[in-house]
């Protein structure tokens, strides 16, 4: 057991912890925005063609098989330390669930509705914006949610590349195992990530309520 009580530790270090947590959340949030825009865009461009859609899904899932530590390690020589490798890695990892769900969602829109939309005189962009994307939105939002959960964990690794976030806390603890505060540090970082993940998830439930049209809400 650690010498210092965990609650005492939190009391003395809460300033630092809050800063780390904020930076963690902010990095995940920003990368999620970029990943969402890119992911939906890739989905929109590729869903219509069998091979392009499959290529997009395969490529993004290949990225996901690369261990995140290795990915960041590979990025450091190219883009240096700190924020850049973190942002790039998080965005790339965030893409897969979004791309896959966007493609599945867009392909899953009832063909008769697409036929009806075209038949009453919608142009292709209009059909995409007014019919296909709104109907594919629930699965896309699920993809975004899954991505966010995943990035919460992966973002912790960013500390390895001197990135921002709660990972610093964990790494510091791991580096000084056996010291007075080591376990408290790891525990605080981990719990912080879990709390953040829960907060984000609650936000997504709210976003779902606000953005999924009432007519197709489950």
């Amino acid at each position: 057991m650690s010498d210092v009580n965990f609650w005492e530790y939190l009391g003395t270090r809460h300033q630092q912890l809050l800063t780390d947590a904020f930076q963690h959340a902010s990095a995940v949030f920003q990368c999620m925005v970029v990943a969402t825009v890119l992911g939906v865009l890739i989905g929109v461009v590729t869903y219509r063609s069998e091979w392009a859609g499959n290529l997009a899904t395969t490529t993004t899932s290949t990225i996901l098989t690369i261990p995140s530590l290795a990915m960041i390690g590979l990025l450091i020589p190219i883009v240096g330390l700190g924020v850049p490798p973190t942002v790039i890695a998080l965005t790339l990892y965030g893409l897969l669930p979004i791309v896959r769900n966007a493609i599945v969602g867009l392909r899953g829109v009832d063909a008769t509705l697409v036929d009806a939309a075209t038949g009453i005189g919608m142009s292709r962009p209009m059909r995409l914006v007014r019919i296909e994307l709104p109907l594919a939105w629930p699965p896309i939002l699920t993809g975004i949610r899954v991505s966010t959960q995943m990035l919460m964990g992966i973002a912790a690794i960013a500390a390895y590349a001197s990135g921002p976030g709660l990972g610093n806390e964990i790494f510091r603890g791991l580096a000084s195992l056996g010291s007075r505060n080591a376990l408290n540090q790891v525990l605080a970082g981990t719990l912080g990530i879990i709390v953040l993940a829960l907060l984000f998830d609650a936000a997504y439930v709210l976003i779902g309520r606000l953005t999924i049209p009432r007519g197709i809400r489950a």
Partner: protein, 412 residues
């Protein structure tokens, strides 16, 4: 409907052909057809014969690989398909309503796209809901999943009519609803068309539906070849070949009954008394009419009871207890088939005909029906023979002209 409502435009298909890539024979092969402004033309034919493909080429939802389409005389084969489709109403099976939009939003789509002002769209939506028999206040804000199949279908028709297009294309619009609802929707379409005079092209599998709705029916065989294109009467009484008679199916004479309405046959006048008349009136009427039955009407002159001479005796002079209740009536718009059904189930073989508000209008009985049907069939037969005669003559003159034309060309 406002007086400004656009009525139909003619449609001409000229050598219309569709060849899907990778398929050896065309799905639609050289179709030629002239559809007049304001008529309902029905495409019927076996599954896969190319009905939908032909229909969807009219709004270029499927691009033809050959031939032309003219709507209202204008060649639309080369114009912007998106613009074309906004001028052609389109209704499909199971309505195709967008589930994330309310009823009002679904209907407003096309008027919005063609740039109607907000206020006009709003009143148009109410007007259309009313037109298709849905209460605007109640249905306006509902989502499609909160509607029954029949109600969805009505909204589908309203959406197709929204920007008041001259032409309406309908691909098995009533294919996915139960028979009773389908019957209602068909009646409603007939009523609508009575007011709107659109040009409607309607695809169905169901020959009875074709007979009921069509001004003319195109019976199609594989590759959309036209087996016969004629009025329902002509197709029923004089099918062009075995393929068509196979499609017409058994019971052509019975189906013929669907084409004639009660208003077209002789309705008999029947002695009546109203419930407020003094009893003496009842006996006077009986005596003067020479029948032994009389129809008792309620205060609003709706048929109420059949009263026989003896009934009143048995009920000890009380009109309230005497006689048998009228359990079935038909309107003047009912088909003879409906009337026959009612007459057959009535134990005395007659049915009262009523007007708009249910008021008494007359009576039809078995004998009237039999006579009318015989007359109808006879008239059809004569007409068909005449028609055939004309065709043969036309063909003869054509051959003649061709032979002479050949000679002329050689000389030139």
């Amino acid at each position: 409907m406002p007086e400004s409502s656009t009525s139909g435009a003619s449609i001409e298909l000229e050598n219309l052909t569709k060849r899907y890539p990778g398929s050896p024979s065309p799905a639609v092969d050289n179709v030629n057809m002239e559809i007049q402004a304001g008529e309902i033309v029905i495409f019927v034919g076996p599954s896969g014969c190319g009905k939908s493909t032909t229909l969807k080429m009219i709004n270029r939802l499927i691009e033809p690989t050959g031939g032309r389409i003219r709507i209202g005389g204008e060649d639309v084969t080369g114009i912007d398909p998106v613009k074309l489709r906004r001028k052609v109403g389109y209704a499909i099976q199971s309505a195709g309503l967008f589930p994330h939009m309310t009823v009002a939003q679904n209907i407003a789509l096309v008027p919005k796209m063609v740039g109607w002002p907000k206020r006009r769209i709003k009143s148009r939506v109410e007007e259309l809901l009313d037109l298709v028999g849905l209460d605007p206040g109640e249905f306006h804000g509902r989502y499609p999943r909160q509607l029954s199949g029949g109600q969805q279908q009505r909204v589908g028709v309203a959406r197709a009519l929204a920007a008041d297009p001259p032409v309406l294309l309908m691909d098995e619009p009533f294919g996915a609803v139960d028979p009773i609802t389908r019957d209602h929707l068909q009646d409603e379409l007939i009523r609508l068309q009575h007011e709107l005079h659109k040009t409607i092209v309607f695809v169905t599998h169901d020959f009875d539906e074709a007979i009921k709705l069509g001004d003319r029916i195109a019976v199609l065989r594989e590759r959309s070849h036209i087996a016969q294109f004629d009025t329902p009467e002509a197709i029923l009484t004089n099918p062009a070949d075995d393929f068509v008679s196979g499609f017409v199916g058994a019971g052509a004479a019975l189906k013929r009954l669907n084409l004639t309405r009660v208003r077209d046959v002789e309705i008999q006048d029947y002695p009546t008394v109203t419930i407020d008349d003094p009893l003496q009136e009842f006996f006077n009427k009986l005596r003067s009419s020479g029948t032994n039955e009389i129809l008792l009407l309620d205060k609003r002159r709706r048929p109420y009871k059949w009263l026989r001479r003896g009934d009143l005796m048995r009920a000890k002079g009380s009109l309230a207890r005497a006689g048998t209740l009228v359990h079935d009536t038909v309107t003047r718009d009912a088909t003879l088939r409906d009337a026959l059904e009612a007459v057959l189930t009535d134990n005395a073989g007659r049915v009262a005909v009523t007007g708009r508000r249910g008021e008494y209008d007359g009576v039809v009985d078995m004998e009237t029906l039999m006579n009318s049907v015989h007359e109808l069939l006879e008239a059809d037969r004569l007409e068909a023979m005449e028609h055939q005669h004309e065709l043969e003559e036309a063909r003869a003159t054509q051959t003649h002209a061709e032979q002479e034309g050949d000679g002329g060309e050689k000389k030139a």
